[in-house]
């Protein structure tokens, strides 16, 4: 699969021969090596942001209902992502999924091009994290690569039809599908069980959320492996058409697990608390819906984004429970984030590609400016930190007492 999107022998000769064959380190070889090293570093950082961005997909609801303590939840998710990254053998397929016309008559994917796309994806992932928005990391990566491709080869490089049918329409359908499934599951849960039995759903939640995590690990780490392998092939360090090296698989697995363990508490708060209050039965319903929808979509040939499915499930369960309210303002903010993900990541990717066009100086400027923005985002995030301790489940006794007092007052008044 990978060979199909590698720009063929031509890219191999542009970077490869000068990198390896000459036998002496001319400046061009240094350029290529440096770019490939930067791509690997950025790809692993993207993998890390992917991890903490998507912890919420699996773990927001069990944390919200108290089925798992926050620390335990992220630890389980991290381990399952690590395991999942090694489990999948359909490694690193097309990273651009045919969005960009590659090969003859299209774009040559070079390490520089990937570098620019990654910068766009990373920066947008961090901005959405700062805002607490669950947004698709794949869309950010697509956006960044599209932007870079347009600068490199013009608007014709992007296959608009594929963009609409494989990315945009599924993005609209995903939350509705998951929402419907989650709504019906919630109705069943509240129809069948009585109130005092519903705490039992917490145990079920552990299994369903773990399954979402494992599925995530088998999918998302593969993207980064694909990016790194592509850069290695394009730079001439690996034969065309070969799969990822073991160290690439290991590094990607560790990066996504570390990112997952670091939590992404802002997005967990949005998904678990801000959209709607979630009871254990709803958490189980939402996770069952997320799991079922993702597994069905990956195996029946209609790919849907995990993030959008998970968000749709939470909204669906909010509609499904009587007396629960969905905060549509929050849901709207998330939807807006989805709409602008590809364009904004694209613009950043395009700018990065434009600057990188000036050669080594441009690449250095790209990375320096990107690094500075990352630093600023982390500093901004420190102003209102959200951390694990804020999700500690309240002691049941503490929760019940004030409620009773209120009732008594109302009765006497």
């Amino acid at each position: 699969m990978l060979g199909a999107l590698v720009p063929g022998p031509r890219a191999g000769t542009t970077g490869g021969v000068s990198g390896k064959g000459a036998g002496r380190l001319d400046s061009r070889a240094v350029d290529v090596t440096l770019t490939v090293v930067l791509v690997i570093a950025l790809a692993l950082f993207f993998d890390f942001t992917n991890g903490f961005h998507d912890t919420a997909n699996a773990m927001a609801t069990p944390i919200a209902t108290g089925a798992l303590s926050p620390k335990v939840a992220v630890a389980i998710a991290a381990v399952l992502n690590l395991v999942g990254a090694f489990l999948s053998t359909t490694v690193a397929q097309t990273i651009s999924g045919g969005l960009i016309r590659e090969g003859d008559g299209g774009v040559q994917i070079t390490p520089l091009f990937i570098l620019a796309g990654l910068i766009g994806a990373i920066l947008w992932n961090l901005v959405t994290w700062l805002l607490g928005l669950p947004s698709s990391s794949s869309h950010a990566l697509f956006g960044g690569l599209i932007g870079a491709a347009i600068v490199g080869a013009g608007i014709g490089a992007v296959d608009g039809g594929v963009l609409v049918t494989k990315v945009l329409i599924p993005a609209v359908l995903a939350p509705f599908t998951a929402g419907l499934v989650s709504y019906i599951a919630t109705k069943i849960a509240f129809g069948v069980t009585r109130k005092r039995e519903r705490d039992g759903f917490k145990i079920g939640q552990i299994f369903t959320s773990s399954l979402v995590s494992l599925a995530h690990g088998t999918n998302d780490a593969q993207k980064t492996m694909g990016v790194i392998t592509l850069a290695l092939i394009a730079g001439g360090f690996q034969p065309v058409g070969s799969g990822p090296e073991l160290w690439v698989i290991g590094a990607c697995a560790v990066a996504i697990a570390a990112g997952t363990y670091s939590g992404g508490w802002r997005i967990i708060k949005t998904l678990g608390r801000d959209i709607t209050e979630i009871e254990p039965a709803q958490g189980f319903a939402a996770e069952a819906a997320t799991t079922a929808t993702i597994l069905a979509s990956t195996h029946l040939g209609f790919a849907l984004s995990t993030t959008q499915v998970a968000s749709g499930s939470v909204i669906g369960t909010g509609i499904g429970r009587k007396g629960a309210s969905v905060r549509w303002r929050t849901a709207g903010r998330i939807a807006l984030g989805w709409v602008v993900t590809i364009p904004v990541a694209g613009v950043i990717g395009a700018l990065a590609a434009f600057v990188a066009g000036f050669g080594l100086v441009g690449v250095v400027i790209d990375v320096a400016v990107g690094g500075a923005i990352v630093l600023v985002i982390f500093l901004l995030a420190r102003r209102n930190r959200i951390h694990a301790a804020q999700f500690a489940a309240p002691d049941p006794g503490v929760f019940v007492k004030p409620k009773r007092r209120k009732k008594k007052k109302a009765a006497t008044a």
């Binding site: 359909t90 129809g191 069948v192 399954l211 799991t291």
Partner: protein, 70 residues
């Protein structure tokens, strides 16, 4: 530029059936586990067991090594 609507409908139906089945079994297990009649408990355990089977089926689908032909 065509959308595979059949695939989409299949996904929706499959997801609906799977999630509903899992939920019905688990909720049924909880409901039947809560009662005094003697027949309730084994049925409840059976339902949880079937839930476990569904989760195992999920793992089977997630891990590609387990289903090379799919």
């Amino acid at each position: 530029m065509s959308i595979d609507w059949l695939a989409f409908v299949t996904v929706v139906v499959a997801a609906l059936v799977a999630a509903s089945a899992l939920m019905a079994l688990f909720a049924g297990g909880l409901r039947l586990g809560d009662g005094t009649e003697r027949w309730r408990r084994p049925v409840s355990v059976l339902m949880f067991g079937l839930c476990g089977v569904l989760v195992l089926a999920g793992i089977w689908l997630v891990v590609p090594v387990l289903h090379p032909g799919l």
